[in-house]
Symmetry: C3
Subunit: 292 residues, 3 copies
Amino acid sequence: MSRMTRTHSALPADPSAAARELLPRLRDTEPLVQCLTNPVTVNLVANGLLALGATPAMTDVPTEAGPFARVASAVLVNLGTPHAEQREAMVEAASAAHDAGTPWVLDPVAVGTLPVRTALAHRLLGHSPAVIRGNASEIIALAGHGAGGRGVDSADTTEAARDSALHLARTSGAVVAVSGETDLVTDGETVVLIANGHRLLTRITGAGCLLGAVVAAFASTASAQADRLAATVAACATYAVAAELAAEQARRPGSFAVAFLDALDAVTPEDVAERARITVERPAAVPAGRTA
Amino acid sequence: MSRMTRTHSALPADPSAAARELLPRLRDTEPLVQCLTNPVTVNLVANGLLALGATPAMTDVPTEAGPFARVASAVLVNLGTPHAEQREAMVEAASAAHDAGTPWVLDPVAVGTLPVRTALAHRLLGHSPAVIRGNASEIIALAGHGAGGRGVDSADTTEAARDSALHLARTSGAVVAVSGETDLVTDGETVVLIANGHRLLTRITGAGCLLGAVVAAFASTASAQADRLAATVAACATYAVAAELAAEQARRPGSFAVAFLDALDAVTPEDVAERARITVERPAAVPAGRTA
Amino acid sequence: MSRMTRTHSALPADPSAAARELLPRLRDTEPLVQCLTNPVTVNLVANGLLALGATPAMTDVPTEAGPFARVASAVLVNLGTPHAEQREAMVEAASAAHDAGTPWVLDPVAVGTLPVRTALAHRLLGHSPAVIRGNASEIIALAGHGAGGRGVDSADTTEAARDSALHLARTSGAVVAVSGETDLVTDGETVVLIANGHRLLTRITGAGCLLGAVVAAFASTASAQADRLAATVAACATYAVAAELAAEQARRPGSFAVAFLDALDAVTPEDVAERARITVERPAAVPAGRTA
């Protein structure tokens, strides 16, 4: 099969081992994560990165964004409310990141339903994101298979986006992470399912945005694109386990958001190893259709 | 009297009955509330809508804002920090909302004192907001009766804005809600006073902004403009009762803001029915002056 | 010595006396603090000012920002993410503030490393800020002595910025406050060290931004530039003591941010007097070098 000639992701036999290894590395290196993101949730994104152990910097002014992306550890480009000046900075940052070898993450918020960000997302794909993270509707739309959801809300299940995620990963070269009740992560060959998290994540704004930033922070710990599947799985698992820890402390959305930040600070590699419910489906399980 | 020929708002004999009916309807329908609002409080607005049971979407990019307003359940236009690109999107959204029959709420922050937003507010009035929500100084200024307050702070009492609110409601066709220690809501005929709430609401940023969004969410549950007086009263009462519940859990502003989000999630129609202190002044009590 | 002919700051024999006097004055006057700041932390800045007892207003639209600065009690200009329209408003506000005698505070976020804000900061210096507040790297860079830090993170210690702070204070006429584990405040002659605070302040976003706003609020209580050294010391000490109180209530970043807002509301002049560890180094101790 021709697709087996592609660079293949190394996922350890025990997939939660990645989180055990990469979370301490993240906290040791305090990666500088540049975020070009929306004002709605930018405060949570910055505080979530700090709580986890990374260093956020929200540099999104044109002529500053590009040079910064060259020295950052990782970059997040989130299309939540992409105003004209920020769009210019996003293209600049993505281009510079790709050029400098800085891994960058695309979060295609509400792509498919809204024209400005849809055009921008397709343009940004040309700058080779390391990871694309979205909900099912967004991934289906970005893969060209559907119309997208309504805003940040996903009308589709993660499983419904499986083929689109595989297709998008193969055509873009990025790891694709689909967020939902169960997260699905794929490099276009291996599919990993992470059945953690808590429904309270859907009751606070920015849970998806912050996950995109956490994926970027973890991506900085991977030395090559081949390791980014493992890094993305580690990010999603750590994040979802932290949500479970938080939900044990708080049962309503206001206090949950506070407890979640505390949990991102408190969560240990052992917590992730004990609680993560990760299923790996090796390439043999990949359906034959839809190869680009 | 000529004004009796206007479409007349149906307010039930027991005014808290509206909250009992509309709050469950809101939570069942999870209305999609598009907010074009300021970055200062946008996070609270989004989280408050989610906590209450609505679905926020902060789409405020020109060429996206208009089409989105056509499919949204309701729209909030808040003039907190109206930069040029957002101003363009606000006019687009208000126009599309009016055209598509989507109820939209105008929050004329600091109108009267500041020139850009004052001109914009008057332009937006031409697109027939369903509800206008502001503090006393803003309503007085928008009605053309005074100079406005200093920023979001209101120098005037709700009662001082009564005539301005009646006048503005009659000339604009909107329900007008004046926020203060006692809220005053009117359709230009009936005046409703809601004597709930808590002074801690004045110690957190965005309490007014979020109320505007909650009014929009409730407006989506009203099938016609004639029902929007009841929907606006239900919004103000639910909001103010939630603040009272929160103040029983937290006595200082940081923890109050968290408890308030929890209370918006927890508040029940029965809480509102038991606690709401609502007075209805029927049209006979309306002073004769100032009819447009 | 020629520099002794400069207006000299009056610092009381007991430096914490300033906090004892100025904090109640701030709460009595509820100063209107106009903030032109970044969307990342603007919500914390507004809530922190409200918790302390000031009145925030985030007016940053061109043609509104200048007139507002004339009537505000104080102005904060924070260069966190200075987009084009906000840059225009910042120059307008700083110019109007200087012209009207409104004290204004410059927070030169990430100056030195990033070109747009570096040029803007130097331009703004021409409008005579009352206080400049930054971390060590930023103050060193703004004084022309180094390359700046990486974003809001400071690579240098406060003590390493001592000479730069003295130089910048003398050339700009502003009080300079360098934030770090120990804060250093100087008017170019007297150096004051404040050894309070808590490491959790480095784990939440916006601790520096909010301090800039608190400095602005305190600056409004000083009747002349000569009193602004004392006002800035009072601001830094009050802020750092509130952080210590908060850290006694919460040990992780999410809950610490909430407790910190509560502590800004709760902190008393007596708390500051009891806990403040302030050292004053009189002009005799100033090294001779680097006078402009």
